[in-house]
Assembly symmetry: C2
Homo-oligomer: 342 residues x 2
DNA sequence: AAAGTTTGCGTGAGCGCTCACGTAGTTTAG
DNA sequence: CTAAACTACGTGAGCGCTCACGCAAACTTT
């Protein structure tokens, strides 16, 4: 058992006071350059590492933030985590990751738990909570960054993409390229609260077309099996669909699989579109057309914003809106003029 | 700013001493059932949550463990993390995740950093470090569980699968089903240290066949682009391969893509096999034949073992070896007798 | 040259817990 | 009926830091 070297050991060894060592490691002033060098040298020599726990206790800053996320299996989520963690590591912060399986109450409980664990801030991914509830948690001592949802309040900001508008554009694009009957494979939940659904409907409406509610189908879960099953139902119910817009790339891959199972060729019989542009999207067959969400960047920016808010609280930081880009690949095909004349 | 309720507040309110409150929340004895109930009631009433930091300071147990992993992008790794975290959450432990990009020195530095952050234990995934180095970190105050590598020492154990043996069996199976020229798409590193390569060679040797070193190709990286590129080179160099064994499912998917790009049909012209059985493997086209690694279970067991070691140190815990199962899907096809007569 | 200002350092307190004791009151053993 | 052994609490110390001071020495200013 290695004895732990404390700040007092360093102080004694360097012949200075505890506080002077503290000044050296925290780059505070009130210490001469000469002393600082000497202290840093002894720190190096003794292999001293300050205790995160003690620091947290004394300063009321744990250098830890919490991430509350539905699940971590989707590679797009992993990208967000990676962005967050990359940023966090460079500034010496830790991340507690907590999964909620998208259960609302679990989110609240998790946030409370994180507070009691003295986190300095929280990143909430795709929360189900409303602005008021989230804002009630946000505090000068607990800034919150919400990801994938647009929110703003004191000590609360967000990093988002405009899924609704991007989906509307996508629908307009699909219709413009000859599609008429476009299915939507989406997640469970109240349709009024799903940007994916709202944008889909707006797309049709903006072109003066009717939306057939049979074309919208919500999987019971965002996993691949549910997506596969639901796509089969969707296609069975609407055999004349020429395109399916999935909720994300993972579900889109399962949707393509389901189409194959139903004897449909992608993209000749039916086009499939996903969201995220996860790394496999370009490698599956057919390669998946997708709306690229900059997940890594979202994670990075979330951490950056959170750090800003920790440093300077009580300011209202404007939400960040990142662009979504349509990446055309082999899973989509335009319909010929014949269809347009219809 | 909500004032933090401390243990002293609870003590005062319940009319007992600090220590009695501590006894109540930690289920220690030396407290009557009646008092315990009363204390727990006031805790509930005041909404008291003990500070993880203070607890850690006082007890020298931070209830936090560290995970050192190469990257988190592979869904198989996410599964390990999920298993670890699921287990951790049920016992109130936190996990610090640190990525190293598979750099050896980063591993050492990361372990040191985690130690200074007072973690109670460490899980090392696919480490490059040798037994001696890892064992030198392991300590009664810092048990270590190594995942995907077989190691054992005091306060050090491992959860693994026998990749070498499974690969050998796979090769034997492939040859048994008529394949003769089997390519290996593997990761960078010294071939002597890659179980994947060792098992591959053993498979041929056990059947008295020559291994052609041209059939082995190491991607410069484990990402999809490198796998795609390397597969093309592998196929170009050996146009007569009838099967490719990839390092994992992600790389196998990229390999299938590369084969298509080269005008080869999978599985008619060439079979492709991966490892892990990640969730998309069953949904890509053709569905991927793979050696299933129980990643979630590995994560769970790693956490369980670590908790055991934290509770009862200085015992040698035997390594755990989990089974690998061959999952046959559409990406493989046996070669006909014609090939066997060769 | 006296007074004010800055610079460089040290000291005590305390963050919120747990640990190792101490001490009454109660039960058990001989 | 008394000594020994619990049971149910309370008390002081301390984990390793930072914060808010305090206080000399050096450096300006008028």
């Amino acid at each position: 058992m290695k004895k732990n070297i404390t700040i007092d050991d360093v102080a004694k060894y360097a012949g200075v006071s505890r506080q002077t060592v503290s000044r050296a490691i925290n780059n505070m002033n009130g210490i001469s350059e000469k002393t600082r060098q000497r202290v840093l040298a002894t720190i190096e020599e003794l292999g001293y590492r300050p205790s995160r726990l003690a620091r947290g206790m004394a300063s009321n800053q744990s250098k830890t933030i919490g991430l509350v996320i539905g699940n971590i299996l989707n590679p797009a989520h992993s990208e967000v985590i990676r962005g967050l963690e990359t940023m966090a590591q460079t500034v010496g912060y830790n991340v507690f990751i907590r999964t909620t399986n998208y259960v609302r109450d679990a989110e609240i409980e998790t946030i409370n738990a994180l507070i009691s664990e003295n986190v300095d801030g929280i990143v909430l991914s795709s929360t189900h909570l409303d602005l008021q509830t989230v804002a009630s948690f946000a505090d000068k001592n607990l800034p919150i960054v919400v990801v994938h949802r647009n929110m703003s309040a004191p000590n609360l900001t967000s990093i988002t993409t405009d899924i609704e508008r991007a989906t509307q554009s996508l629908i307009e694009y699909l219709i413009g390229s000859g599609h008429r009957k476009v299915g939507l494979l989406t997640r469970p939940g109240d349709q009024e609260n799903i940007f994916h659904v709202k944008g889909y409907k707006k797309g049709f409406q903006s072109l003066g077309l009717e939306v057939n509610s049979n074309w919208i189908m919500q999987a019971s879960n965002t996993n691949l099996e549910a997506a596969h099953r639901t796509t089969k139902q969707l296609v069975t119910r609407n055999p004349d669909l020429t395109a399916i817009v999935a909720y994300n790339d993972m579900m889109a891959i399962a949707a393509m699989h389901a189409c194959r199972d139903m004897g449909l060729n992608v993209p000749d019989d039916i086009s499939v579109i996903g969201y995220d542009d996860i790394s496999v999207a370009a490698h599956v067959f057919p390669a998946l057309t997708t709306l690229r969400i900059p997940s890594f960047e979202i994670g990075q920016l979330a951490m950056e914003q959170l750090l800003e808010m920790i440093k300077t609280p009580d300011i209202i930081y404007p939400p960040t809106l990142l662009d979504i880009e349509l990446v055309l690949r082999g899973s989509t095909k335009s319909r010929q003029i014949a269809a347009l004349s219809h």
